[in-house]
């Protein structure tokens, strides 16, 4: 038989034995539950049974760097219906009293996955008058009640819509994705910090257990509340943001499309993070009207869109420093190497123009005057591979990892990228425009600010972040958020050369004179992002003071045209405000400052070596 059949009879019996033992175990257990423990369980089911009611934790607060509360909670009343007690005949009354769509109520009650004894949230943010109506009509509305929840209250002067982000009732889609912790009607962070720190801010729900009779009425607290679990309150977060600077940045952008990111170059802390157009968080707290929601979504300025970290543009000439850093470090050029600029550059019959004929020009004046030909030629000397490699060091083409829910990685082209995209059909011509930050390279203002901060501080890349510390309310400790840093493998003289070029661009004969500030020396670089759909976008990146930088900034003004006109004065104002506060520097207080004709005339500035 063993030769005829596969398995030996002994092995067959072992398997059969295992099956049999498994079933015997199940049968015995069944017997035990349904006979031996029957009385206890029957009683338990008849007392029927345990009702579990969630206890909502308080969502964590948000503080600014001076420990002032910027986002607080307010009590709000939420109408609930307990399905088991509810009588459908009172639905018309319910919908009339609270101005509710009866289909919505029906949907909410039937969609609830919990048992019929747990209250379902029907409408958030009902008024005191409605609360009074509920009390008057209690008898006619069985199973209808309310609970006190908290809703966000915004206390800051600045709007900070994209940074803080909004909270909203969880959607069906998100409910499925997030798993069983959340229940319909729960509030959840949808964007910005509210979404990124959702797990930190939200806390953990607690549960109270109650014994109810077979008709579903609460009899008593189960075991005198011994098995209840208290809710764990959400942790608070402390921002690094300079609230006055934030407010100022938002005002500078009002009426334009664009964004400003300002960083502390010594640690990567975000000082200002403004994107325009924006929206008012106060409108999105509590019950949101569908009209408002539609307007926000359909506005062609896309106010919900976070231009600081989600929008990626070609960096234009602000990317020239990257090429200079790479070429200097690789020894392709030194400070004195000159490259001739006859005013244009021709490759395979295509002519690329410069702003002028700069003659034999070295790296510092090339940055100062933003000479295109110098950088067209330099990228060929350096090579594509090294360019991409150095770009990656500054986190171009990947997310910075800032603590914000939505961030674009941008695009940093490389040979592999072009091969993937175009196969063999790309040529050296593609490289020419990359040399001056045009073409397929795309960067976010956040990436540009972090890049500028790295140049400013002499080569340490700090992960940009806006939350300094987390305060655990239950454990009572304040924990600083660790900041990953990376010392880039680039020599000090490289940084000082590039920085001096940026200094000249603002203070010499360069393109960035409009970013000059009274009382301190700024350094920076203008850029213009070619825009096939309309007027070019204006860039400026810079830092100040030149000697000991306290602030690094990236500004983009969409359709602003040339960077020196539109973005540089905004960046100058931000840097001045960050260093000296309101009212300093110019007579006009914190109003937008425009370079005077006198300042446009270049002054000779001595070489300030670091």
């Amino acid at each position: 038989m063993d030769s005829e059949h596969f398995s030996s009879s002994r092995r067959g019996i072992v398997i059969y034995g295992i099956f049999l033992a498994g079933f015997a175990l199940l049968g015995y257990r069944l017997y035990h539950l349904q006979f031996v423990e029957y009385d206890a369980f029957r009683e338990h089911a008849a007392r029927n049974s345990l009702r579990r009611i969630a206890r909502e934790p308080m969502r964590g607060l948000i503080y600014d760097r001076e420990m002032k509360v910027v986002v607080d909670n307010n009590p709000s009343y939420t109408l609930t219906v307990t399905p088991f007690e509810f009588s459908w005949s009172s639905l018309p009354l319910l919908s009339r009293l609270f101005a509710l769509d009866s289909n919505l109520v029906r949907y909410r009650i039937s969609k609830s996955t919990r048992n019929a004894f747990e209250p379902v949230k029907i409408a958030r943010d009902i008024t005191f008058e409605q609360l009074a109506l509920l009390e008057e009509n209690r008898a006619a509305l069985p199973g209808v009640s309310y609970l006190v929840e908290s809703r966000r209250e915004y206390k800051m002067q600045a709007r900070m819509a994209h940074l803080i982000g909004y909270t909203k009732e969880i959607s069906q889609k998100l409910l499925e994705k997030k798993g069983p912790y959340y229940q319909p009607g729960d509030i959840v962070g949808y964007s910005g910090l509210e979404a990124y720190y959702e797990d930190v801010l939200r806390g953990v729900k607690g549960y109270g257990y109650y014994t109810v009779d077979s008709r579903g009425k609460v009899v008593e607290s189960f075991e005198n509340g011994r098995s209840d679990e208290a809710a764990t309150e959400g942790s608070d977060i402390v921002l690094s943001l300079d609230m006055k600077l934030q407010d100022y940045a938002e005002r500078l952008l009002r009426g334009r499309r664009g964004s400003i990111v300002a960083l502390d170059p010594s640690n990567g802390e975000i000082l200002a993070f403004a994107s325009s157009p924006d929206y008012d968080l106060k409108d999105l707290s509590g019950r949101i009207s569908s009209d408002l929601w539609r307007n926000l979504n359909e506005d062609e300025g896309h106010p919900l869109y976070n231009r600081c970290s989600m929008a990626a543009y070609p960096p234009g000439s602000t990317f020239k420093m990257l090429l200079a850093v790479a070429a200097l470090q690789e020894g392709i050029i030194d400070e004195k190497t000159t490259i001739p600029c006859p005013g244009s550059y021709t490759l395979a019959g295509v002519t690329f123009k410069c702003h002028g004929a700069h003659g034999n020009i070295s790296v510092i004046p090339a940055i100062e005057y933003s000479c295109n030909v110098f950088f067209y030629k330099l990228i060929f000397k350096l090579g594509f591979d090294a360019w991409s490699r150095y770009g990656a060091m500054f986190h171009f083409g990947r997310k910075t990892g800032m603590d914000i829910a939505s961030e674009s990685p941008g695009v940093l082209p490389s040979e592999a990228y072009y091969n993937r995209r175009y196969g063999k059909r790309w040529n050296k011509g593609y490289l020419v425009s990359l040399g001056i930050g045009q073409g397929e390279v795309n960067t976010t203002p956040l990436q540009m600010a972090a890049y500028t901060a790295t140049i400013a501080n002499g080569g340490t890349y700090f992960r940009p972040h806006v939350v300094r510390a987390i305060i655990d309310r239950t454990a009572g400790g304040k924990k600083m958020v660790p900041v990953p840093r990376e010392k880039l493998p680039i020599a000090d003289h490289v940084w000082s050369t590039v920085r001096y070029g940026m200094f000249r661009a603002v203070n010499g004969n360069g393109t960035g004179y409009a970013a000059r500030i009274g009382g301190a020396q700024a350094a920076g670089k203008t850029g213009t992002a070619q825009n096939p759909h309309g007027r070019d976008h204006a860039w400026f990146v810079g830092f100040a003071p030149y000697k000991n930088p306290k602030v690094a900034v990236a500004v983009i003004i969409e359709n602003g045209g040339w960077g020196g006109d539109a973005a540089a004065p905004v960046a100058g104002s931000i840097m001045r405000y960050a260093l000296f506060g309101p009212g300093a520097g110019t007579a006009g207080g914190d109003s937008l400052r425009v370079a005077t004709p006198d300042e446009r005339r270049p002054k000779v500035v001595p070489h300030l070596a670091d």
Partner: protein, 406 residues
């Protein structure tokens, strides 16, 4: 020998499956009627009809079809398993779903049977020897690849089934006992090392002694001692460095009574439902636990509680007996199959049924951790129902060609 499963259609097996399918729908109706989830009952009817069609299709396939196309079936089943990782839909933290016209499809279910077929083909090949490390490695890889793809979805419950039929099938095919212990013992060592250091040490010592007695080879015994000790200590090392909440999650997984809120609450409500059913039950549609929806997700993982509460011990035992009968038939078909391939496939399928029934019912009775394994023919879920119908049809298909008597 007189008791042989010989030739022809196994009508009794088909009848048992049909009754289980009907009882499943009856239970599901009870668990969902009058609620929003009633639509799932309606969907399940569609699945059941499709399942019956598939059953017939499998039954009508040519005699050695599954033997010849084993590896093709396996390859075809792996493709959606790969694609579901980047393109799948996430349901409760598990990314193993494709959404098609309002119906969710779970490739990991179909892959289960495909893997059984491929493994059966491999272990039954005349060139395969489970005494060689190479062939053992290939057999392992056949199961490891789909298991890994399911594991990273992540779905641990379904993955567990793969290792159960792997062990039974290589045992059936004659693999060495030492080899089997080598697969099983590190897993036990890993779990024990988290629970209790002394139990873990005692286990590894006893195991090494057993090895020595089996083989009279001090080298092999020492090898296993070192293997198990290092696995255990490595697991313990990483476990100790896990954040507290992850430790808690593992602890709750291994012992659900530690968390009265989530998993523990479900198990407690399930036990109350079963226990209060008594001998004859509360009557159809009269179970208070079921009708008042105290048992969460009752139509999937806890479907067994419905008949246990409403039809009592008698109803529950009838269902267990029906499953027992399916297993008995499956085992007998495997034993009497004239081809090594059919035999290995039949025992693999029977094992899949066994693990599903044992773990699922054990879960509902508070005997085993809640790991989300559905009950064959009864739980809600289209992919799973169709897979089990295909699997049952494969058993009947095999029996068709068994020789009668001695």
């Amino acid at each position: 020998m007189t008791d042989r499963s010989g030739g022809g259609v196994d009508y009794l097996l088909i009848a048992a499956v049909a009754v289980l399918l009907a009882l499943g729908l009856v239970s599901m109706y009870s668990a969902t009627h009058g609620t929003e989830v009633f639509v799932r009952f309606q969907k399940q009817i569609v699945w059941a009809v499709l399942g019956i069609l598939l059953f017939v299709v499998v039954l009508l396939s040519p005699a050695r079809f599954f033997h010849y196309s084993a590896y093709i079936i396996y390859a075809v089943a792996l493709v959606p398993l790969l694609l579901v990782l980047p393109f799948g839909k996430v349901v409760s933290g598990n990314a193993g779903w494709f959404g098609v016209a309002g119906f969710g499809i779970q490739p990991s279910e179909f892959a289960k049977v495909a893997t059984v077929i491929a493994l059966a083909r491999f272990v039954s090949d005349s060139t395969t020897s489970l005494r060689s490390f190479r062939d053992l490695g290939i057999a392992f890889a056949i199961v490891f690849v789909p298991w890994l793809l399911i594991f990273i979805q992540p779905d641990f419950g379904t993955g567990l089934v793969y290792w159960a039929f792997f062990l039974v099938m290589i045992f059936w095919a004659g693999a060495d006992l030492v080899i089997l212990l080598a697969f099983v013992s590190p897993v036990i060592a890993a779990v024990l090392s988290i629970f209790d250091l002394w139990m873990f040490l005692a286990f590894t010592m006893v195991l090494s002694v057993v090895f020595y007695l089996l083989r009279r080879n001090i080298g092999v015994a020492l090898l296993f001692l070192v293997l198990n000790l290092s696995v255990g200590f490595t697991v313990q090392y990483f476990y100790d460095r896990l954040p507290e909440y992850q430790k808690a999650r593992i602890a709750v997984f291994l012992d659900p009574s530690r968390s009265p809120t989530s998993a523990g609450y479900n198990v407690m409500q399930a036990k109350v439902a079963v226990g209060s059913g008594g001998l004859t039950g509360k009557g159809y549609l009269q179970g208070t636990q079921t009708q008042l929806r105290f048992v969460p997700e009752q139509w999937t993982d806890f479907i067994f509680c419905v008949p246990a509460e409403e039809f009592g011990f008698i109803g529950a035992i009838v269902i267990l007996c029906l499953f027992g009968f399916v297993l008995h038939r499956g085992w007998r078909i495997a034993r009497d199959a004239p081809f090594r391939f059919s035999s290995a496939m039949a025992i693999g399928i029977t094992t899949v049924f066994f693990v599903h029934v044992f773990v699922n019912v054990g879960m509902s009775l508070g005997l085993l951790p809640v790991i989300g394994i559905p009950l064959p023919f009864m739980s809600y879920g289209g992919s799973f129902l169709m897979t089990t119908m295909i699997a049952a049809a494969l058993l009947v298909h095999t029996a068709l060609y068994n020789t009668r008597g001695e």
